[in-house]
Symmetry: C2
Subunit: 305 residues, 2 copies
């Protein structure tokens, strides 16, 4: 168990606040996704199945937390924050397909293609990705349309051929062969880091961040993403299958390069700690309003126990 | 051969102008798509392969033509028009996959998954869809950002779970069973009609259309889309395999309901003619600047000969 730097009181507040933010995301997703009766019902049922199957809602929660950290009002940016979860869910559905990682289980449930067939899983992913941009371009945000366009553009770049999709390609190519540390960092930056960065920046920009606040939160996001990825790699080795909702050792099984395979468990843990400290240091000028972002990176570390 | 309503002189101008607009789209796509050396190279090679393999560029050409019809300048809206072609290409790549239509040939060439493998085809489609929204949110358009957001939102809706993706689901479900005429119209409206409508409206809105011009062009687009779909169904029966770049009779082979299977060849041709007349009628108030849009719906009809 890693040492937490927040006090027991802060920890209680952290869990309450995390649950509150994630709960608002869940409620918003439930309301924003077309109902299961909307034609074509099977498509919308599949979209809802994969999106509402649980998950930590980390990306939208990061966005809402960044919004709060700059004094913004989270209610108005909820649909935009939900768009990040739709992109995350689409990427998981497509990654799980037989042609990719060929996974049968996700969050303890049958994956989308196991439940609805391969064609419907491909199409549900396509529709979730498209819906993300529908939400990001919807009216009602408390910022000028120029800023909304800039946010949408950043999310598209982070999700695109040089971001999320490109990372998945590099990950497939790296499987089962020698990978350098530089390649590993590059794969994770694209596969996880860029969307996490976009999530924090989305919340900050839509929450009215100044340019110095935005710069600080961007640094935070980059270190947060790295911490998250290292811990994810560690949990694939040391984690509890039931808590993870997926088989442990799947990276090993698939011969995937990870921070653990590259550096060993101890050095990987050190790197996660260093990265966490840098994430916290970036928040220095944001003061008390950034307490939850500080606690959030500690929470990521605390998953490894 | 159907009677063309334009004079030989107009026809010559039509072909020249079509080639000019499609050529600008080709050049812009070539420049906008990341080069084959951009990491990950195989992904960008696959994206370029499928997008630059030819095709009529009908959706971006419609957008540029609508822009011209309201007196707009096409140069500035080229990237946005290209986004429509990226969405069209992504939908073809995913439709061709083994889990869907399982087609080996497209435009006379091996389909993306035959050439690059199934995983890369799924990812190339994902990346093209994402890049479309990157282009639609890019700076440089000659309209207020509020209007740009509205255009992007319309495209997302047209491409989404109740548009293009939904139409593909309904098409899969309709294969091999009784389909009503209402269902057929609904499938085509989603699969083809909504994106064609969004293309025309994109060009009009970014070209500075007044609300009455936009309404007229929307009516044109709806009838254009119907004409296009009926002729497409007819060509699947009567067409020239080499010109189509795909096997004729593939709808029959796949037991797909079409305007021809539902109404027979003669009634389907009548319906195409009626729809073409309504498309032309909608352009009455737009005057001479809409000459190319008039000729374009005639061109669609003339493909059936």
């Amino acid at each position: 168990m890693m040492k937490n730097e927040y006090t027991p009181g802060e920890q209680r507040n952290f869990q309450t606040h995390f649950a509150a933010l994630a709960g608002r995301v869940d409620t918003a997703l439930e309301q924003l996704l077309p109902g299961e009766d909307t034609p074509p019902p099977v498509l919308h049922t599949a979209m809802r199945y994969s999106t509402l199957a649980g998950g930590k809602r980390l990306r939208p929660v990061l966005a809402l937390a960044a919004c709060e950290a700059v004094g913004g009002e989270v209610e108005q940016i909820l649909p935009a924050a939900c768009a990040l979860e739709l992109i995350h869910t689409y990427s998981l559905i497509h990654d799980d397909l037989p042609a990719m990682d060929n996974d049968d289980l996700r969050r303890g449930l049958p994956t989308c293609h196991i439940k609805f067939g391969e064609a419907m899983a491909i199409l549900a992913g396509d529709a979730l990705l498209t819906m993300a941009f529908e939400l990001l371009s919807a009216p009602g945000l408390p910022v000028p349309p120029q800023r909304q366009l800039a946010v949408l553009h950043e999310v598209a770049v982070a999700a695109g051929s040089q971001g999320l999709v490109g990372g998945q390609v590099l990950d497939i190519q790296a499987t089962g062969r020698e990978t350098t540390p530089e390649e590993l960092v590059d794969i994770h930056r694209r596969k996880t880091g860029m969307l996490i960065r976009a999530a924090v920046r989305l919340g900050a920009m839509l929450g009215g961040a100044s340019s110095s606040q935005l710069a600080a939160l961007t640094t935070y996001a980059e270190h947060f993403g790295l911490t998250f990825q290292i811990i994810d790699d560690i949990l694939d080795i040391t984690g509890d299958e039931q808590k993870l909702g997926k088989p442990v050792g799947s990276d090993q099984k698939n011969n995937k390069v990870t921070y653990v395979s590259l550096y060993g468990l101890e050095v990987a843990r050190q790197k996660a700690q260093e990265s966490r400290q840098q994430a916290r240091a970036a928040l220095a000028d944001l003061g008390e309003r950034a307490w939850f972002l500080r606690a959030l990176v500690d929470f990521v570390i605390s998953r490894d126990h």
